[in-house]
């Protein structure tokens, strides 16, 4: 099915791009001390914001804001480069894999196109600048994606730029075993599985719960925190990705040493409690401090990411189905987050999201 191409608005493109892309300084000010080392990357702040993913509103379909996104592809012609004749984007946005043309915005250096794409997905793409395929020079996310039609000559670089739309739950950072370790660690930080919470939840009178309420019964399931962190470390906090990987590998090794008879995913809760306490004390027997010098820093980081994942807007991939917010409302009345928040999460009759 062909992609819906929507009007591309000059004002919107400038609003989304000028702060990040317009500049004369050639330095890599934004490579996080070398964490982002690919060509060109590090010149632009927040390269993960490109292409720009926004919510989509349909006045006749309340569900549309969950199912669709507006995505604006922006390509800025470098100051010293001649203007190309054509710029287009190719990838798996479009079932037919046809290039989607970008248009030059007024007489500016920006070329852009806005399309409507399904949410909850990852997309691989390349720009075709005068028919030559190039990675998005701004987006810091790219990966091997050889399974889609590659316009480049056989054997050349098979990396594609990629992005994801809202509510995406496909992993881009972590392997399954890493996700499971993280889930156990974050469950230990969050309140939902604590003894006190279980008693609270078991004693809730289901008959008094209406609408979205009552969903907290499912809090034993993942709150999506791990998915939130997975996206965070591929995007805004890409600079923390390598550290996470090193720490999770160490934790995996340590848990196997401490209990050779069970998989780390299956070891009793007490082992995670002990590990948490060791990390908090920055005194972790068996930790390879040469590989990662400050395990308590990893724990602090994980604590912040866990809180953000549990209680930020669900579109970022955590706070699944708004369960995190529901828990707060039910456990700590009269806190009512719903009245200011858009439907379907909240009940605001004015604000649409």
């Amino acid at each position: 099915m062909a992609v819906d191409v929507l009007p591309t608005l000059a004002q919107s493109v400038y609003n989304q791009s000028a702060k990040h892309l317009a500049r004369t300084d050639p330095e890599a000010r934004h490579n996080y001390f070398g964490h982002l080392t690919s060509p060109n990357q590090g010149r632009f702040p927040e390269g993960w914001r490109f292409p720009v993913v926004e919510p989509f509103f349909d006045p006749n379909n309340e569900q549309a804001i969950l199912d669709w996104n507006l995505v604006t592809f922006v390509y800025r012609v470098e100051d010293n480069a001649r203007h190309p004749q054509t710029v287009s984007v190719i990838g798996d946005m479009d079932g037919s894999r046809n290039p989607i043309a970008l248009v030059r915005i007024e007489n500016s250096r920006y070329w852009a196109v806005t399309v409507r794409l399904p949410s909850r997905r990852i997309y691989d793409y390349l720009y075709l600048v005068d028919n030559l395929p190039v990675l998005d020079p701004v987006n810091t996310r790219h990966r091997l994606a050889a399974n889609i039609h590659n316009p480049r000559p056989q054997g050349s670089d098979e990396r594609w730029s990629y992005f994801w739309t809202d509510y995406c739950t496909q992993a881009v950072t972590f392997e399954l075993w890493e996700q499971i370790l993280l889930q156990r660690l974050t469950n230990h930080i969050l309140p939902f599985n604590s003894r006190e919470s279980r008693i609270f939840l078991e004693n809730l009178d289901p008959s008094k719960l209406g609408g979205s309420r009552g969903r907290v019964y499912r809090l034993d399931l993942s709150l999506g925190v791990v998915n939130y962190i997975d996206k965070l470390l591929a995007g805004p906090e890409q600079h923390q990705r390598a550290g996470y990987k090193v720490c999770l590998a160490q934790i995996n090794t340590l848990l196997r040493q401490r209990n050779p008879y069970q998989e780390p995913r299956d070891v009793p809760e007490e082992m995670y409690v002990a590990l948490y306490n060791d990390l908090a004390a920055n005194n972790v027997p068996g930790w390879n401090f040469n590989a990662y010098a400050n395990p308590s820093y990893f724990l602090r980081l994980l604590r912040r990411h866990t809180l953000m994942g549990a209680f930020s807007h669900p579109k970022y991939g955590g706070n699944s189905a708004g369960y995190g917010w529901d828990y707060l409302a039910e456990r700590f009345p009269p806190f009512d987050w719903r009245q200011g928040v858009e439907k379907p999460w909240g009940t605001s009759t004015e604000y649409r999201g």
Binding site: R23, R109, E196, L307
Partner: protein, 603 residues
């Protein structure tokens, strides 16, 4: 070359009122704004606002400072979505010893059409009569410790006009911008007129603050807020429900919060008779001004692509918030030391550009109510205020040079991420650190933390006058921004008397909570001020190009025109010679309306 009657740099509190007035006087106006135009829901082509009720908009994900030569290189920061990237355009701060400068988020308001009025908490207090005449007020006073004012670097001057002169403009702001509040109980003279809309019901938690303010002898009033509670005819806005707690540091997707875009610029552009006279160019970064003799004849800027552009204005108004305005003028001096620089006595003995930088003495007290929980997510930024500590009697009795307003805060820590961010943190540069390090907040401990802090915390704050001190200044730093221009360097600390003032008013805030909440119903009261944190600016960015009676003591004349220039005006907070004992936006806007009346006669 394009020519306009007026080119205004900055679309916030200091610039937009002038655009509003000049266009209505038939003048052609260009407003250049560095930031984007973020639209409200009703004006957005997508049907959705560019602002969101989303906690990650107020403070975003982690970024890392990587500015060469600063002491906090490698430190994290968590900017809002409309603050500049610190690695592209930092503010550099150091104390008076200039050791270990750091890059900081302090001192940026917002880079967006509407400027700081988009993200502010919208507290819109008038200054008191004495705030405009503190030199006269203190002259000959016997009860001030002498050493506090014999310091030759302290220079207190009266404003070049009185409260009575600016009063009609305060009224104008209250009507045109759209404020709610009550006049009764305020120390300020409203001269029998009241343009406030009716305040909404206060959050019930604020009753304790009100009781405390009254218990210490204060009269209370509803904190004036730039939020419409009724349909607002001057700006064509329809009222709705603004009580969401996504207030301070959030742009309002619905446009109920009155900022200079929805209240002044947008209505002008929507009026077919006026729109042709107003040109708004956003995402345009002014790099410098150039002058021919005493006339600023060119404004140089980078357009959204980054291309260099030049425009001309019969007059040029600089209003891009005090630090950036001073920086822009200094960068212009650097381009042309012989003329532009000489006219500002730039880097010469006696030069005052950048001097007497001010913010506010601020602080307060905070407590958690025991056994009671309120929904602070249904609130605006503040409910009650008192002028007790701004009264001449209080100032005299406490041997202070000036006063302060006190008001309670309601929208702070109302939402879960804000609780985590601010747990144990004292400023924007230490966000999240407390929560990250408090490893006892886990499982049942997490519940206990929320039980203690979610919807239970009540705080009262003060905003007090800061001593104008020559040593507190802005200049250019050797590091450069993404355009290769030198960044702003802020060197400041608190004068000893500032610390005295902060201690005394902090104690009043503590007493408000002590007396307002029965013992046994509250946790230990935490109180304090910024007296040991020289970096703190409260986003109240004032001084650095003050106005006054002559070029010997000031940078601008009474009309905000730079001495030695014919057509260069500076109308943001940088013109203020004293910071006033209240949040400054109302006064910046009123002064800009005052200057606009003068400019109408000069173009």
């Amino acid at each position: 070359m394009e020519k306009f009657d007026a080119v205004i740099i900055g679309s916030g509190a200091g610039g937009a009122p002038i655009a509003y007035e000049l266009v209505r006087a038939g003048k052609s106006v260009l407003v250049l704004e560095k930031g984007p135009l973020l639209r409200t829901q009703d004006e957005s082509p997508t049907g959705l606002s560019d602002f969101k009720r989303d906690e990650l908009f107020g403070y975003g994900t982690e970024k890392i400072i990587d500015v060469p030569g600063v002491a906090n290189r490698g430190a994290p920061y968590f900017p809002s979505h409309v603050e500049p990237d610190l690695n592209d355009e930092p503010h550099i701060y150091a104390g008076l010893d200039e050791q270990n400068p750091i890059a900081t988020t302090e001192g940026f308001t917002a880079q967006v059409v509407g400027g700081g009025t988009q993200l502010y908490g919208a507290v819109h207090l008038r200054f008191t009569r004495e705030d405009f005449r503190l030199a006269s007020f203190n002259q000959g006073r016997a009860n001030l410790p002498a050493n506090r004012f014999t310091d030759p670097d302290v220079s207190i001057i009266d404003w070049p006009f009185t409260y009575d002169d600016i009063e009609p403009y305060y009224l104008k702001v209250e009507e045109l911008v759209g404020l709610n509040g009550t006049t009764q109980g305020q120390l300020k003279d409203f001269k029998g007129q009241n343009k406030y809309q009716t305040p909404l019901a206060p959050n019930p938690i604020s009753a304790f603050a009100k009781a405390g303010m009254e218990a210490i002898g204060g009269t209370t009033y509803r904190t004036p807020l730039a939020v419409i509670t009724e349909d607002h005819a001057p700006s064509g806005r329809t009222a709705g429900n603004p009580k969401t707690s996504y207030v301070n540091r959030y742009g309002d997707p619905m446009g109920y919060k009155s900022n200079t875009w929805v209240a002044l610029l947008r209505p002008t552009l929507r009026d077919p008779a006026l729109a042709p006279l107003l040109t708004l160019r956003c995402n345009c970064h002014v790099t410098h001004l150039s002058a021919n003799g005493a006339t600023v004849n060119q404004v140089h800027y980078r357009d959204p692509s980054g291309e260099e552009q030049i425009v001309e204005g019969k007059i040029v108004v600089v209003a891009c918030s005090a630090i950036e305005s001073v920086r822009l003028l200094m960068l212009s001096c650097e381009q042309d030391r012989a003329n532009f620089g000489a006219r500002f006595q730039y880097q010469q003995s006696g030069g005052l550009l950048g001097r007497y930088f001010l913010t506010h003495c601020f602080g307060g007290a905070e407590v958690a109510l025991l056994g009671r929980r309120f929904d602070k997510s249904i609130s605006l930024d503040s409910d009650f205020a008192t002028d007790l500590t701004a009264s001449p009697a209080f100032i005299q009795a406490n041997n202070l040079w000036a006063g302060a307003a006190i008001y309670n805060n309601t929208s702070d820590q109302a939402l879960p991420l804000s609780l985590g961010r601010t747990h144990g943190s004292t400023d924007l540069d230490s966000l999240w650190q407390g929560f990250m390090g408090d490893t006892s907040i886990i499982g049942d401990g997490f519940n206990a933390w929320m039980d203690r802090d979610l919807g239970t915390r009540l705080s009262v704050s003060f905003m007090g006058n800061q001593i104008p001190w020559f040593r507190n200044h802005i200049r250019l730093h050797s590091s450069t921004d993404k355009w290769g221009r030198n960044n702003a360097y802020i060197v400041k600390d608190w004068h000893p008397h500032d610390r005295v003032l902060m201690d005394i008013i902090t104690e009043q805030c503590r007493r408000i909570l002590e007396l307002g909440i029965p013992a046994g119903q509250r946790s230990n009261i935490e109180n304090g001020s910024v007296k040991d944190q020289g970096v703190r600016i409260a986003n109240h960015i004032l001084g650095g190009a003050r106005f006054g009676p002559n070029a010997g003591v000031s940078v601008l004349d009474a009309s905000c025109k730079a001495w030695n220039f014919d057509n260069l005006y500076v109308t943001d907070g940088s013109c203020m010679p004293t910071s006033g004992g209240a949040n400054p936006t109302h006064t910046i806007e009123a002064n800009a309306f005052r200057v606009a009346d003068i400019l109408k006669t000069r173009i």
